[in-house]
C-alpha cells in the first residue's frame, strides 16, 4: 500500500518534501472533491457581482476598480459586465469621491465605495462619519444612507507605517455606522451581501493578506440569496477552558494556536515512533487531512500549543465589530471563565479594550483571571522584517526559533495566560 501511494505521489509530479506532505496532497485530491474551496477574493467578487445584478441601484466607485480590474483584483470582470456607469473609476481624491458616494446614497442609490486601503479613508473620514453615519439621526429618519465603504484594513507585509493601521476601533466607536470584519470566504460573501443590502452605512474591513487564502465553502453559501446576519459573532471552535476573541486575519492565528484538529485527536508522543507506526501514521494523517481540508484552514501539521498543553480554547470570530455581539462573548466567558482578546491594531482604546469592558460589566463574577489583550505594538509599523514581526501578533513559523512558547503550567486549572506570542 505504501509503495502504491508513493508511486502516485511521484507520478503526479507534485514536488513533495516529505511523505507526509505527499499524503496530504493525495488526501486532498481524494477527499476534498465533495467540498469546494474559493479564495476570499473570489468570494468578494462573486458577492459584488450578484448584488449588482440583483439591484440596479448598486454601483461600485473607487480608484482602479474598473479598467485596472481592481487594485487587488476584487472587482475583476465587473466593468465588462456592468459598464462604466456602474463601475466608476475615480481620480485619487478620496474626500471628493466619498462625498459623491454619500450624496448618491442620499438620493436613493446604493453605492459601494472602495478605498485602496483604509489608511486612505482618513482623507474622507469626515464624509463617512459626519455626512453618512450621523445623517439618519440628525434628519430624524428623513435621510438614510445605504452605502458600503470597503477595502483592505490593517497590516499587509512590509508596507510601512502609513499603510498598516487597523481602523476597526476608530469606526467601531461611531453610532450610526455598522462595522464588519470578515475572515473566511463564507464570511466575506455573506457579510458583503448583507452590507450591500443593509439600509445603513457599513464599513467593511477586509484584509489584503487574506484575499488569496482559500477556504472550503458549502453549496448554501454559493447561493445568490445567501447572507450572514449583521451583529452576530461565530463560534469557530467550541472549547471549555479559555475564550479567544478575534476578527479578520487574527481568527486564523487563533485557530492555529488552539488546535488544528479537534481536541480529541492530540497525538500521544509515542506514535512518532518511526519504526512501528508508519502505516498507522499514514492512516491517521489521511484522516487528519480529510478533516483538515474539510473543516479547517491550517498549513501546519503541528498541533496547536494550547492543545499540546491540554487546554481547550473556544475561538470566537467576531465578524461584526459594530454592533458587537456582546451576548455571545459574555455567554462564552461565563462558560470558560477566561478571556483573551486578539487584534492587530493599536491596543489603546482598541476592540479588545471594549470587549474587556463589556465582559467586566456583564460577567465580572465569572472571570477566574484578568482579561488578556493581545494587540499590535504601540508603535507605528516599522519596515524592517524583524521589527515588523515584533509589532503585530505573529503566526507560528515552522522553525522553532520563530516560535515563542508560553510558560504554561502543566495543570491547566491554574492557567495563567501570560503574553502569548501566537
Amino acid at each position: 500500500m505504501l509503495g502504491v501511494i508513493r508511486q502516485r505521489v511521484t507520478c503526479r509530479g507534485i514536488p513533495t518534501l516529505t511523505l507526509e506532505q505527499g499524503m496530504r496532497v493525495v488526501a486532498s485530491r481524494t477527499f476534498s472533491s465533495s467540498a469546494k474551496e474559493i479564495t476570499v477574493r473570489e468570494a468578494l467578487n462573486s458577492a459584488l457581482d450578484e448584488e449588482m445584478s440583483a439591484d440596479p441601484r448598486v454601483f461600485l466607485m473607487g480608484e482602479e476598480v474598473g479598467e485596472y480590474q481592481g487594485a487587488y483584483k476584487i472587482s475583476k470582470g465587473l466593468l465588462e459586465k456592468y459598464g462604466p456607469d456602474r463601475v466608476v473609476d475615480t481620480p485619487i481624491t478620496e474626500a471628493g469621491f466619498t462625498g459623491i458616494g454619500v450624496g448618491a446614497a442620499y438620493y436613493g442609490l446604493k453605492p459601494v465605495i472602495e478605498f485602496m486601503t483604509f489608511n486612505f479613508s482618513m482623507q474622507a473620514i469626515d464624509h463617512i462619519i459626519n455626512s453618512a453615519a450621523k445623517s439618519n439621526y440628525m434628519s430624524a429618519g428623513q435621510i438614510s444612507v445605504p452605502i458600503v465603504f470597503r477595502g483592505p484594513n490593517g497590516a499587509a507585509a512590509g508596507v510601512g507605517a502609513q499603510h498598516s493601521q487597523c481602523y476597526a476601533a476608530w469606526y467601531g466607536s461611531i453610532p450610526g455606522l455598522k462595522v464588519l470584519a470578515p475572515y473566511s470566504s463564507e464570511d466575506a460573501r455573506g457579510l458583503l451581501k448583507a452590507a450591500i443590502r443593509d439600509p445603513d452605512p457599513v464599513v467593511f474591513l477586509e484584509n489584503e493578506l487574506l484575499y488569496g487564502e482559500s477556504f472550503p465553502i458549502s453549496a448554501e453559501t454559493l447561493d445568490s440569496s445567501f447572507s450572514l446576519p449583521i451583529g452576530k459573532a461565530k463560534i469557530e471552535r467550541e472549547g471549555k477552558d479559555v475564550t479567544i476573541t478575534a476578527f479578520s486575519k487574527m481568527v486564523g492565528y487563533a485557530l492555529q494556536i488552539r488546535n488544528l484538529k479537534t481536541n480529541e485527536m492530540v497525538f500521544p508522543r509515542m506514535f512518532y515512533n518511526r519504526i512501528r507506526v508508519r502505516v498507522l501514521r499514514i492512516i491517521c494523517i489521511n484522516l487528519q487531512s480529510y478533516i483538515f481540508y474539510n473543516c479547517m484552514w491550517n498549513p501546519y501539521r503541528l498541533p496547536g500549543i494550547l492543545a499540546k498543553e491540554g487546554i481547550s480554547a473556544e475561538v470566537i470570530n467576531l465578524r461584526s465589530i459594530r454592533p458587537l455581539d456582546r451576548s455571545t462573548i459574555n455567554a462564552s466567558v461565563r462558560k470558560t471563565n477566561r478571556l483573551v482578546t486578539v487584534e492587530e491594531g493599536f491596543p489603546q482604546h482598541g476592540v479588545g479594550a471594549e470587549i474587556c469592558a463589556s465582559v467586566l460589566e456583564d460577567s465580572f463574577e465569572y472571570l477566574d483571571a484578568p482579561v488578556e489583550r493581545i494587540a499590535g505594538a504601540d508603535v507605528p509599523m516599522p519596515y524592517a522584517a524583524n521589527l515588523e514581526r515584533m509589532a503585530v501578533p505573529q503566526q507560528r513559523g515552522l522553525a522553532t526559533d520563530q516560535v515563542h512558547w508560553p510558560q504554561l503550567p502543566k495543570r491547566y486549572k491554574e492557567l495563567k495566560l501570560t503574553k502569548i506570542n501566537l
Binding site: T93, G103, H127, D200
Partner: protein, 390 residues
C-alpha cells in the same frame, strides 16, 4: 385754489378707489412684465444670458411676500436666540433672501438643493412651514428634524432639500453626488450645491468639481459670496476672489445676488446648461446684515456704514418693493399690510412652536440606524439608560 384742489381730490377719490381695486386684481394676473436686472452678468468661458427677464405680477408679488416672510422670520429668530429659546448655533440669512427666492422661481421641487448651515430660508423656499422651522430651532417635537437636528440640520427630502450641513464645504461633494444619482437614474433634473466664499477655498470642492466635469454631472455650484468667511474678508482668504472663475475649465457666471430676477435668470440659464453640458459655477454677489452667527456681532471686521450702505442701496426686499410700486401693482399701504400680515403669521408660528413639546426621552435612541437588529444602545449611565434599537 386750495378749495379747488380739495374738491378735485374729493372727486377723484372714487376713481382712485376704482383704480386701487383694479390694481388688486392685477396682482394675480399672469400678464408678462419685462424687468431689467440691476447689473449685466459676467461670464467665464460662457456667453452670459441677457439682462431682460420675463416675469408676471403674480410672481413679483410672491417674491415680495416670500422675501418679507424670510426677513421677518430671521429677525424673529434673532429675538428668540437672545431670549435663549434657541441654543447653540444660529446662522441668519437676512440680506441674502433674493438668492433663495430667485432660485426657487427658476426650478422645480424635483431639482435638488443642498446647502451649508445658513439654511432656514432655503428650507422655507423649498416648502417648509414656519412652524417646522421655529420648532426645530427651539428643539421641539414638531420641528422638521423632530428637534434632533437643530438650526444647521433642516431637511425636506420629498421637496428635494437635502440639508443643512455643519461641516464647511462638505455639502459640495454631496451635491455632486446628488447630481451623479440624478444622471444615473436618468432624471432630467439638476442639483444646486450652495456654499459660501469661505468654503470656496476647500479642497474637496475642487475634487468634486473635477469629477463633475469629467463625468458631465448636472451639478450647479452656487457660491453665495457675502464677502466674509466668518470674520475673514474675502481679500484676506482668497488669492483670487473671482469665485466664478475658480472652476478654471468649468464655466462660471457672476450674478448680482441682491436682485431676485438676476438670480432667477442665472439659475434658469444654469439649469439648461447643466442638463446639456455639465457643471457650471454661479457666484451670487450678496450680503448678510447679521454677523456670521448669533455669537458674532458682525461689526468687528466691517464698519456699520458698510452694512447700512448696503441696506440702503442694495436691499433685495426694497428692490422688489420699488418694482411693485413702479409697475403699479400695489400701493405703499398694501405692501405695508402684507408685511403686517407676514409679521402676524410669524408671531403665530412662534407661539405655536412654543406650545410644542420637547421630544420624548425615548427619541434619544431612535433613528440611529434604519435597521437596528435589536442591538443594545447605552446612555450615559449604562445600567440605567439603555435601549434596544429595533
Amino acid at each position: 385754489m386750495a378749495q379747488l384742489t380739495r374738491r378735485t381730490t374729493d372727486l377723484l377719490k372714487p376713481f382712485s378707489a376704482a383704480l386701487s381695486s383694479t390694481r388688486l386684481l392685477t396682482t394675480t394676473s399672469t400678464n408678462p412684465i419685462t424687468v431689467e436686472t440691476s447689473l449685466p452678468f459676467t461670464g467665464h468661458r460662457i456667453d452670459p444670458p441677457s439682462r431682460t427677464v420675463e416675469t408676471t405680477p403674480q410672481e413679483l408679488m410672491s417674491f415680495f411676500r416670500d422675501m418679507a416672510l424670510m426677513r421677518r422670520m430671521e429677525i424673529a429668530a434673532d429675538s428668540l436666540y437672545k431670549a435663549k429659546l434657541i441654543r447653540g448655533f444660529c446662522h441668519l440669512y437676512d440680506g441674502q433672501e433674493a438668492v433663495a427666492v430667485g432660485m426657487e422661481a427658476a426650478i422645480t421641487k424635483k431639482d435638488c438643493i443642498i446647502t451649508a448651515y445658513r439654511d432656514h430660508c432655503i428650507f422655507i423656499g423649498r416648502g417648509g412651514t414656519l412652524l417646522q422651522c421655529f420648532s426645530e430651532l427651539m428643539g421641539r417635537k414638531d420641528g422638521c428634524s423632530k428637534g434632533k437636528g437643530g438650526s444647521m440640520h433642516f431637511y425636506k427630502k420629498e421637496n428635494g432639500f437635502y440639508g443643512g450641513h455643519g461641516i464647511v464645504g462638505a455639502q459640495v461633494p454631496l451635491g455632486c453626488g446628488l447630481a451623479f444619482a440624478q444622471k444615473y437614474s436618468k432624471d432630467e433634473n439638476v442639483t444646486f450645491a450652495m456654499y459660501g466664499d469661505g468654503a470656496a477655498n476647500q479642497g474637496q470642492l475642487f475634487e468634486a468639481l473635477n469629477m463633475a466635469a469629467l463625468w458631465d454631472l448636472p451639478a450647479i455650484l452656487v457660491c453665495e459670496n457675502n464677502h466674509y468667511g466668518m470674520g475673514t474678508a474675502e481679500w484676506r482668504a482668497a488669492k483670487s476672489p473671482s469665485y466664478y472663475k475658480r472652476g478654471d475649465y468649468v464655466p462660471g457666471l457672476k450674478v448680482d445676488g441682491m436682485d431676485a430676477f438676476a438670480v432667477k435668470q442665472a439659475c434658469k440659464f444654469a439649469k439648461e446648461h447643466a442638463l446639456k453640458n455639465g457643471p457650471i459655477i454661479l457666484e451670487m454677489d450678496t450680503y448678510r446684515y447679521h454677523g456670521h452667527s448669533m455669537s458674532d456681532p458682525g461689526s468687528t471686521y466691517r464698519t456699520r456704514d458698510e452694512i447700512s450702505g448696503v441696506r440702503q442701496e442694495r436691499d433685495p426686499v426694497e428692490r422688489i418693493r420699488k418694482l411693485v410700486l413702479s409697475h403699479d401693482l400695489a400701493t405703499e399701504k398694501e405692501l405695508k399690510d402684507i408685511e403686517k400680515e407676514v409679521r402676524k403669521k410669524v408671531d403665530e408660528a412662534i407661539a405655536q412652536a412654543k406650545e410644542s413639546p420637547m421630544p420624548d426621552p425615548s427619541e434619544l435612541f431612535t433613528n440611529v440606524y434604519v435597521k437596528g437588529y435589536g442591538v443594545e444602545a447605552f446612555g450615559a449611565d449604562r445600567k440605567e439608560l439603555k435601549a434596544v434599537l429595533p
